[in-house]
């Protein structure tokens, strides 16, 4: 993705509304961008152009769906203590799996944290086992047992 040089200070009121107000209930109708445009007093073209600009700038990842944990398929959080000298290589190896959606380096001895999601629990287990085998490092499997707050989006400016 080509990232345009758009900085936080370039964002105007419309950008902020588009980033903030539609994280949860994006309209599901024939012309959703027209629906947004009408409620904002703008044109559909303008709203689409802004979404494109914010996406090109890497500020919006996508307009998409987040499923509740384990309602669709199976998932887990996994963690590894990776020696710093091999961290980049191991992080690349882990991110290379299509089943890995999120992969973070965190400042702790257990420094690599990633989410594995697949169509079945068996496939999740197989991915963890394969990563363990390929890296020669133990992989902590930390499945969710209860959820207290799901991904509802996060207010950026309120």
């Amino acid at each position: 993705m080509v990232q345009s040089a758009l900085s936080l200070t370039d964002l105007d009121e419309l950008d902020r509304r588009l980033l903030d107000a539609y994280q949860h209930d994006f309209p599901v109708d024939e012309r959703p961008f027209l629906t947004l445009a009408r409620s904002l007093g703008r044109s559909e073209d303008e709203v689409l152009a802004r979404f494109s600009r914010l996406t090109d700038a890497g500020m919006i990842a996508r307009i998409g769906a987040a499923f509740r944990p384990n309602r669709v398929g199976a998932s887990t959080l996994a963690a590894m203590a990776v020696p710093p000298a091999t961290l980049d290589r191991v992080a690349d190896l882990v991110s290379g799996y299509d089943e890995v959606s999120h992969n973070y380096v965190r400042d702790h001895v257990i420094n690599l944290w990633f989410v594995v999601t697949a169509g079945s629990a068996g496939r999740v287990d197989a991915v963890l086992a394969e990563i363990g085998k390929r890296t020669g490092l133990p992989v902590l499997d930390l499945p969710m047992t209860r959820s207290y707050r799901v991904d509802m989006g996060f207010p950026l400016w309120s």
Binding site: G58, A65, V105, V150
Partner: protein, 161 residues
């Protein structure tokens, strides 16, 4: 919920995001051989069934000034975790919260919260408030700041293009 082959194709196509065009559900459907009305009907159904936690704009917090986000993990007794977790999940400043299986002795913690933050000090202040407000200060915790987002993508459920 049980997913049909059409659902798996639709969820797979959605990983790249809704196309930015005037009739995005029609465009999405065209890629996978469904008409726009069917696509919208399935999305409405996921919502009604409560399968979705959200459908909308996914922002990159790390590109919007939230460069000091952290994960906090407390080690709390099993018989207290649900009450503490529900209280924790309702606090402002908490992005996500859940209980996960512990892996002692390496990783004894079980109660997680994700804290988006613009600075490490701001995140530490939120954690101090959570410790105080939720009575979590009595339990050991680990605070892990994000050093680098190596990958952030939509979840895959086994569908391949």
């Amino acid at each position: 919920m049980e997913l049909t082959a059409d659902d798996l194709r639709l969820i797979g196509a959605l990983r790249a995001g809704l196309p930015l065009c005037p009739r995005p559900y029609d465009a999405l459907g065209e890629r996978i051989g469904l008409d726009g009305a069917t696509v919208r009907r399935r999305l409405d159904l996921y919502r009604q069934e409560g399968a979705l936690s959200r459908f909308g704009v996914v922002v990159r917090h790390d590109r919007l000034g939230y460069t000091a986000s952290a994960m906090v993990v407390w080690d709390v007794p099993e018989d207290r975790v649900d009450a503490l977790g529900r209280h924790l999940g309702a606090q402002s400043g908490v992005g996500l919260s859940y209980c996960r299986r512990r892996r002692p002795p390496l990783w004894p913690g079980n109660l997680y919260a994700m804290i988006p933050g613009r600075s490490r000090d701001a995140v530490r202040a939120v954690v101090a408030r959570l410790n105080e407000t939720c009575g979590l200060g009595a339990y050991p915790h680990e605070l892990l700041f994000t050093v680098r987002c190596h990958k952030i993508a939509a979840a895959a459920y086994g569908w391949q293009p």
